[in-house]
Amino acid sequence: MARHEVNADITGMVFKIEAEAGATLAEGDMVMILESMKMEIPVEAPVAGRLTEILVKEGDAVAEGQTLAVIEN
């Protein structure tokens, strides 16, 4: 089982979490939306698999490169 981290592309805030922990995702499925520079930025699943962990909650400040969630496949 390979573990893939879903990382933040940009420093900002967690605006909305779109997927639930435990869900099975296809590559490109929306995991959450960040808000930065007044824009809503979707965070997509980099690979298909099961979303095993969501490490942030709505309203959290996140830094570029920070791990937001984990997908296993």
């Binding site: 592309d9 940009i10 930065s36 520079m37 007044k38 824009m39 809503e40 930025i41 979707p42 570029e64």
Partner: protein
């Protein structure tokens, strides 16, 4: 000697030279699905057009002549789509294509001819580095290296292309870094020195993929423009890249025919643009609708994603595209995107490719991460490059254009002509932030909302058009038609499409 005997001897010597490192090594290589040095040349060039230079070159070391056919690096000239080009192909089956006295002379020669006579140079990189023990000792060093004071000078007289098709340490890596286009096959490696040396010299255990694999170079260093799965795809990418470029800096790029249906997708532009100003989208959809059908060749797609760069054609004319991509970091330009765009501007300007800019950026990325990577310096390299460029520069203000990024993306007199879409908004910073700055310390939400609203209303396409800081406001659907005509209008007629190349000696990486 009778003629017959001399010719028989010739055929025998020729056969041995063409045999490269021998059947066993070639067969082993073939089994891995990798092309050999001669197959790569054949696939690149037009049929039967290869004229080899140095077929009978061998090692100068005593006893090595018989086991170094071609001395491990093949060189010569040929035609690509009917145009003359020079080519170097490392033959890994002969002493790991290591650099030696004879083969360095071969490379130096075709490189010089390509540069002075004005034709592209293609280098198939796959080399273990300097040949041992030839290069060892002070005499070895003095004999092999440093005898060409122009070896690593790049004045962009003609396009250089490198393919990383195996392990590339030493000169193959250096030439790749000096090239205008670098394609890398998955599984290949480019690094200063091999993992073996890393382990011997500094005790670092590292695998070659981590040290210099495709992931590193396509996502982190940006030294590679394109990654392919096979040698064949890499060679096809080289042919495609060169199809946009002139043979040398003093001619205009070749004009191609326009594919049917290229004028049909004006509505695609509008469909790709979200109605909400806070929503992101993939700018590449817009580019594909504007450009000639299937003509967009994106470069460095995984590096510096807020900035999209690539070659394309508009009405058959080759152009360089620079676009902000809201899909990447909301289009906020980071250090990687700035480096990528700077290098691209230098390349396009050096080879007379007009620049088309598609603007939708909330600004440069701010915060510690960028500052630690010298963001102000990178932003100025980018800005200077744009102002130094003398090719036609056209820009389209699609949506946001804020702050310094407004200038870097061609705002004001930094483009020769600018068109804004009705969706454009131009200001020093996003009104939401600006309203907070000017009401700092006062907790009056109503006042803040009023100021923000006023600021937003004065940031429109028509405001900027009213002072003629953009020359036109156009419907998004007619962008292609507008740019086609503007490219004609701004053609460099007095010099037949050739710019001044004021950055010809700029570095090739930043």
């Amino acid at each position: 000697m009778a003629h017959e005997e001399a010719l028989k001897d010739y055929e025998e010597r020729r056969r041995r030279a063409l045999a490269m490192g021998g059947e066993a090594k070639l067969a082993k290589r073939k089994a891995t699905g990798v092309l050999n040095a001669r197959e790569r040349i054949d696939l690149l060039l037009d049929d039967d057009s290869f004229l080899e230079s140095g077929l009978f070159g061998t090692s100068v070391m005593p006893g090595d002549a018989d086991n170094t056919p071609g001395d491990g690096k093949l060189a010569g000239f040929g035609r690509l789509d009917g145009r003359d080009i020079a080519v170097v192909s490392n033959d890994f089956t002969v002493k790991g294509a290591s650099s030696s006295a004879t083969n360095m002379k071969k490379i130096g020669h075709v490189k010089r001819v390509a540069t002075e006579r004005g034709m592209p140079l293609v280098m198939f990189g796959e080399s273990s580095g300097a040949r041992m023990p030839d290069n060892m000792g002070a005499r070895g060093m003095g004999t092999m290296l440093g005898n060409d004071p122009q070896q690593y000078v790049r004045l962009r007289e003609s396009p250089w292309v490198s393919a990383i098709l195996g392990q590339c340490y030493g000169s193959s890596a250096w030439y790749a870094c000096l090239s205008d286009f670098v394609v890398m096959r998955r599984g290949a490696v480019m690094a200063v020195a091999s993992p073996v040396l890393a382990s011997l010299a500094i005790g670092q255990t590292v695998d070659s993929e981590e040290l210099g694999g495709t992931k590193l170079h396509s996502e982190v260093t940006g030294l590679v423009d394109l990654v392919t799965d096979t040698d064949e795809e890499a060679i096809a990418a080289i042919r495609r890249f060169l199809s946009y470029l002139p043979g040398h800096a003093n001619e205009a790029p070749p004009r191609a025919s326009v594919p049917d249906g290229s004028d049909d997708d004006g509505d695609g532009v509008l469909a790709a643009l979200p109605e909400s100003r806070n929503r992101v989208y993939d700018v590449r959809k817009i580019l594909r609708s504007v450009l000639d059908r299937d003509s967009f060749m994106e470069l460095k797609p995984l590096f510096g994603k807020p900035g999209v760069i690539g070659l394309g054609r508009l009405d058959g004319r080759a152009v360089g595209i620079i676009a902000n991509n809201p899909m990447g970091k909301a289009g906020a330009l980071d250090v990687a995107a700035s480096e990528k765009i700077t290098r691209f501007i230098v390349m396009c300007d050096s080879f007379n490719l007009p620049l088309l800019m598609f603007v939708d950026t909330p600004g440069f990325v701010i915060g510690i991460e960028g500052e630690r990577q010298k963001a102000p310096g990178k932003i100025m390299n980018f800005m200077t490059a744009l102002q130094m460029a003398t090719v036609p520069k056209l820009s389209v203000l699609m949506r946001k254009s804020y702050g310094q990024a407004y200038l870097n993306m061609g705002g004001g007199r930094n483009s020769d002509d600018i068109a804004a879409w009705p969706t454009a908004e131009v200001s020093f910073m996003d009104p939401a932030y600006a309203a907070r700055v000017v009401t700092w310390g006062r907790d009056d939400a109503e006042e803040r909302a009023r100021i923000e609203d006023e600021m937003r209303r004065s940031s429109s396409a028509y405001d900027i058009a009213s002072i003629y800081a953009v020359q036109a406001v156009i419907r998004p659907q007619e962008t292609r038609r507008y740019l086609k005509r503007m490219l004609e209008i701004h053609e460099l007629r007095p010099t037949r499409g050739v710019g001044q190349h004021r950055m010809r000696n700029w570095p090739s990486t930043y």
